[in-house]
């Protein structure tokens, strides 16, 4: 490989650049990216409720237990939506930068 005939100062250039830019800390997200994340969280939670409600509605029409399964599954849907939203924010603060 060509790595042996490379000047040595080149190897730690990345490290020095990173240090000069303030270490591994990712740059604060731009307003657009932050807005996109906000959108995503809202959609995630609303979709959870909707999907739970729709599944519950169909199960209810099938089993003839009108309000009950819809009610229970809407609650499960809300929980799932919150869980997805929570997982999303966790991934962003812990792992490598993954824009929205």
């Amino acid at each position: 490989m060509a790595s042996s005939d490379r000047p040595p100062s080149f190897d730690d250039l990345d490290a020095r650049l990173k240090k000069a830019r303030g270490g591994d800390r990712p740059a604060p997200p731009s307003p657009h990216v932050a807005a996109a994340l906000g959108w995503r969280l809202a959609i995630e939670m609303a979709a959870g409720m909707a999907v739970g409600g729709i599944i519950g509605w169909f199960l209810d029409s099938w089993l003839g237990s009108r309000p009950w399964l819809t009610l229970v599954l809407v609650l499960f849907g809300v929980a799932a939506g919150v869980r997805n939203a929570y997982r999303l924010t966790q991934k962003r603060s812990a792992g490598p930068e993954r824009p929205s």
Partner: protein, 245 residues
């Protein structure tokens, strides 16, 4: 403002070539036309730019190679090397959505991705494909995807439905995000456009705002194509590796 100039008028579907097969309305509409244009423009750009295949790429070839490498890196970063098989699908999705979004920004063009049925069809294909992939790869063990580990068995009746629903939400969020962004952006552009005419001389204010908003919409067009693509990659990753922490 006349009814024909409502800000939502731009999303109206018109039949250009009425076709009916077996009671199903499969007319060729303006939406179909713009999808065909998006596919045509993308294919034309990619084949034309790569036809010379020069060692030192020219302007167009650089764009094509940049797009290729960008998606290839995205896929292998988020789903590993085994996912390279699915590159054609992921790349086609990205290029199609990007072209549909960008073509929609041309004045008088129709934005196919501002219709939820279009985005939902794509998201649904991704969802069904990824689920089949998971079962083919792992068999019945893929059901373990819905059982969070390290949880007492008492909690499972509560947590498995939550996991299941949060899996079923995926096609909804994937499609709604793209559709809602496109719909909101294009409606806002049209509303502001109406203000320019209504305000006369002071229309210069909404006009300046439209210029800024248009730049933002360009960014959104890229960003939403990117988001759709990266989420597809992450779903492929989930199906291939389940939860390997």
């Amino acid at each position: 403002m006349a009814a024909g100039e409502s800000p939502l008028h731009q999303f109206e579907i018109n039949r250009l070539l009425p076709i009916e097969i077996g009671g199903l309305d499969v007319s060729f509409t303006n939406s179909s036309l713009w999808m065909v244009i998006a596919v045509g423009a993308a294919s034309l750009m990619l084949t034309m730019s790569m036809s010379r295949g020069a060692l030192v790429p020219g302007r167009w070839q650089s764009i094509a190679e940049l797009a290729y490498e960008f998606i290839a890196k995205l896929l292998s970063d988020s789903a590993g090397r085994e996912a390279r098989k699915y590159f054609p699908l992921v790349f086609s999705l990205f290029v199609f959505i990007l072209f549909a979004n960008l073509l929609g920004l041309i004045p008088y063009a129709f934005t196919t991705t501002s219709h939820i049925i279009v985005t939902f069809a794509m998201a649904g294909c991704v969802f069904i494909g990824v689920t089949i992939l998971g079962f083919v790869k792992h068999g019945a063990r893929f059901l373990g995807f819905f059982v969070p580990h390290g949880v007492p068995a008492v909690m499972l009746p509560l947590l498995v439905p939550i996991e299941l629903i949060s899996y079923l939400i995926r096609p909804i969020t994937l499609s709604v995000r793209l559709f809602a962004n496109m719909l909101a952006g294009h409606t806002l552009l049209k509303v502001l456009g109406g203000f320019i005419v209504a305000l006369g001389f002071f229309g210069i204010l909404p006009w300046a705002f439209i210029v800024a908003l248009y730049a933002l919409e360009l960014l959104v067009a890229f960003l939403q194509a990117y988001v759709f693509t990266i989420l597809t990659c992450l779903y492929i990753n989930d199906a291939l590796h389940m939860h390997e922490h």
